[in-house]
């Protein structure tokens, strides 16, 4: 497994795709920082490290969408290029192939997360005044990230399952979005029209939990629930994905 992980990491981290995606995100963050800094330099006293840094808590759902990109970077259009046959025919167990790519996608996601959040918070720290509430900001961000992390991993596992099971990467991405995002709206409608059970289930979807997380600040049992839900999505997607992938025809 160590050899497999090393090879996957080598491939993923030498792809231009990863760095282009990071650059695009960093450029977006830079624009956000620039806009805030211009507002601040024109005399808006409401702009501070506190007001800008807490924006991270408001865009936690972005991490869920980003799993589509990290998944795509690692899965690398295997079905389009027919490269999975080189791995399977050499006798590498399908479980190792599946779990290896999943683990590396999580690693890439984690690395990208550290770079993006680090860059943004570093920029906020350097550019904006500190008003004595830094401790509160770090606590809030710590709370949000502690809750978001397992949900992102759950999302990543679901995305990888879709990439493994659907031959077209585009269709896999649509399916992932459908489950992670559209399903919440469907359950909401079903909750109103058919049964409140659907509304109840909706609250356990990763996207919905990420949206709720910031408003539940410092409710640590909720973070615990995030870990349980994240783990269920992660294990559930992986078990289903792996079971189907084991029987899948490789071309």
């Amino acid at each position: 497994m160590a050899d497999y992980l090393r090879a996957e990491c080598t491939k993923a981290f030498r792809r231009k795709y990863l760095y282009i995606a990071l650059l695009v995100c960093l450029a977006g963050e830079s624009l956000l920082l620039l806009g805030s800094w211009l507002t601040y330099s024109w005399g808006n006293t409401n702009i501070s490290f506190h007001s800008t840094a807490v924006m991270v808590a408001a865009i936690l759902s972005f991490g869920l969408y980003a799993t589509l990109i990290t998944g795509d970077i690692v899965f690398s259009d295997q079905y389009k290029h027919n490269t999975l046959k080189n791995e399977v025919s050499y006798g590498l167990p399908r479980g190792r192939i599946y779990l290896g790519k999943l683990l590396v996608s999580m690693l890439v996601a984690l690395a990208a997360c550290v770079v993006l959040i680090g860059f943004y918070l570093g920029g906020c720290w350097l550019l904006f005044p500190h008003d004595g509430s830094d401790g509160t900001v770090w606590s809030l961000l710590g709370y949000c990230l502690a809750g978001a992390f397992p949900l992102w991993l759950g999302g990543q596992a679901l995305v990888m399952a879709c990439y493994f099971l659907v031959r077209s990467s585009t269709m896999a991405a649509f399916l992932s979005i459908g489950i992670l995002v559209v399903l919440a709206s469907v359950f909401q409608a079903l909750g109103l029209l058919i049964s409140p059970v659907f509304e109840c289930i909706r609250h356990f979807l990763p996207g919905v939990m990420l949206d709720t997380l910031a408003s539940m600040a410092f409710d640590w049992p909720y973070v615990g629930l995030c870990w349980i839900v994240g783990a269920v999505w992660c294990v559930g997607s992986t078990v289903v994905g792996l079971a189907i992938f084991r029987r899948k025809e490789i071309r």
């Binding site: 080598t10 792809r15 046959k85 050499y90 006798g91």
Partner: protein, 307 residues
Amino acid sequence: MSEIVLALRGLTKRYGNHLAVDHVDLSLEQGQIYGLVGRNGAGKTTIIRMITAQTIPTDGEIELFGATGERELGQMRQRTGVMVETPSFYPYLTARENLEYYRLQRGIPGRHVTEEALEDVGLAGTGKKKFKNFSLGMKQRLGLALALMNRPDLLLLDEPINGLDPEGIVEFRNILLDLCRQRQTTILISSHILSELSNLATCYGFIDNGLMLEQITAKALETKCRACIELHVDDAAKASLVLERDLEVRDYEVLPGNVIRLYDCLDRPEQVTRALVEGGVSLGGVEGRGANLEDYFLSMIGGARHG
């Protein structure tokens, strides 16, 4: 007795109502070059894909280096080199990067292995050229480099010379023959280019509509396809006597139904017929026979279709 490297027993693959491979039995001994011959869609690729775990068999058993269990088969597959259909690699990586990725993934020690594999197939000088910019021939060579990288004991090759230029075909043939001679590598190769296959194979399997029609050694096939005069006579014993006594023929065989195949006197059939008539043998027919692999295969699938 040589070691059985690969054995298939009743191997079957069904897609819905279509039986792609129908209870195929096959056995390969160490050092053999087995040519799998069949038309498009006959089931050749499906057989190779089942051996290489790309497709799960519907029924039957695969034995590789004596192993049959799923886990053991996986381990034994690491002693194989595979090239199925068009070689597939990451288009945005160079030949070296692609091979290095698979070397790492397979846990093959030593960076020199990648360099040697590239040199073996003449791709060492491709530098920064990405796989997507390779010609078909270069792609085939890279596919072969990957198949040979782990110094396999069994090579499974599906249409490996597609896209190779004449020089490449000769090089490819020499690589395979060297492997077979020097390392006793066993090779299963399917190809449409039967003339090329006949330069390599030591035995053949003819497959059509998923059925194995016949398995035959190259030697036996050569005998079957050998040029001869086929004589239909009323009395084979008398005709044999005449041939031996009057024409001093030694190389001939008597087949059931008073048929004689004569491998001598091919350049003077009129002398043969005259001697037989003068010796009191009644001739029902005389025809020149002889076939190459292509003719043999075509007559076989023709027979299978009419049968």
